[in-house]
């Protein structure tokens, strides 16, 4: 598939934007963790996510997207990142309950891509992602014991946002335009089922209840296909300046 259909380009753009903001958030929190090991893990994950962005951005460029635009030369409302990464208002447990669902959702979308010439790159990314997701789950398990109320409250917001990033439940094998185009080998509905089952299993038997999570989100009638979310919202202008390196350009040596 040399030329991707428009919904597939938007699908990949949302993955790239989510990885870009994930890398940014991991970097921002890399010195704020409760242990040196958590900090090192955050710094490592940040580098890997930005590495993935560089690889995937070149594929988007080949589909006609401008590289500078991808790297941040655009309005905040043009980013299609998972909404749970827009801002993280809270402490470490909230950060974990915000980044973990976004990272897992982005990997599930990436893993579903069926384009043959991307498979080698996706396999390598999967090796990195295994450690991201395993770390998140291990950390969420311990936080489910030490801070269950905070984790539960955060997940009631972030899991529906991650599900909105994956897509609406009505996108099945007959209606999901990315699947029907052959770009992915499983529909949004199937990806959602795997995502929901994972978190249901992870918190089963813990003090964290997911009964208050809206697992039906998003409403397909108000879902924004390009930004993979509902209700607007975006990263902040301060985030955007950091992504662009605006202030650091003052120190650029010509």
């Amino acid at each position: 598939m040399d030329e991707w259909p428009d919904p597939a380009v938007d699908y990949m753009q949302a993955i790239v934007d989510t990885k870009l903001i994930l890398g940014h958030r991991y970097g921002q929190w890399a010195l704020a963790g409760p242990s040196l090991e958590d900090d090192i893990g955050g710094a490592s994950a940040s580098q890997e996510e930005i590495g993935h962005v560089r690889q995937l951005a070149s594929r988007l460029q080949a589909q006609g997207r401008d590289l500078e635009w991808i790297h941040g030369d655009r309005d905040a409302t043009e980013f299609a990142n998972a909404a749970c990464l827009d801002s993280i208002d809270g402490e470490w447990p909230t950060y974990m309950a915000s980044t973990a669902p976004a990272d897992r959702a982005a990997w599930y979308l990436l893993d579903a891509i069926a384009i043959e010439d991307l498979q080698g790159m996706l396999t390598k990314m999967g090796e990195d992602e295994y450690f991201h997701l395993e770390y998140h789950d291990a950390r969420l398990e311990t936080l489910a014991e030490s801070a269950p109320d905070t984790i539960q409250a955060a997940l009631e917001t972030t899991l529906p946002q991650a599900l909105s990033f994956i897509g609406p439940a009505t996108y099945d094998e007959e209606t999901d335009p990315v699947f029907t185009s052959g770009f992915t080998d499983r529909s949004v509905a199937e990806i959602r089922e795997a995502f929901i089952a994972h978190y249901t299993d992870l918190f089963e038997g813990t003090a964290v209840s997911l009964d208050g999570v809206d697992f039906d989100a998003p409403d397909p009638d108000t879902w924004d296909e390009a930004r993979r979310r509902v209700g607007g919202g975006s990263i902040s202008e301060a985030d955007l300046r950091q992504l662009r390196g605006t202030e650091n350009k003052l120190f650029e040596i010509n």
Binding site: S35, E37, I40, T142
Partner: protein, 64 residues
Amino acid sequence: MKYEVFARINQGDETLHIGNVTADSDRLARMYARNTFDEEDWDYLAVVRREHILEVKAETPGVI
């Protein structure tokens, strides 16, 4: 809990003690070890709970 970390670079090499990590679970200890000792492309990396290490040393024989 404290965990001791062991690794080897190549298959057939000796497995060496390379450090330790502190973690709240075995699962988390594995991830901490991977993140913290990421400077090599290890052939083998393992963690052992410090309390599970059995020291071998001479002790006073019991008497009947």
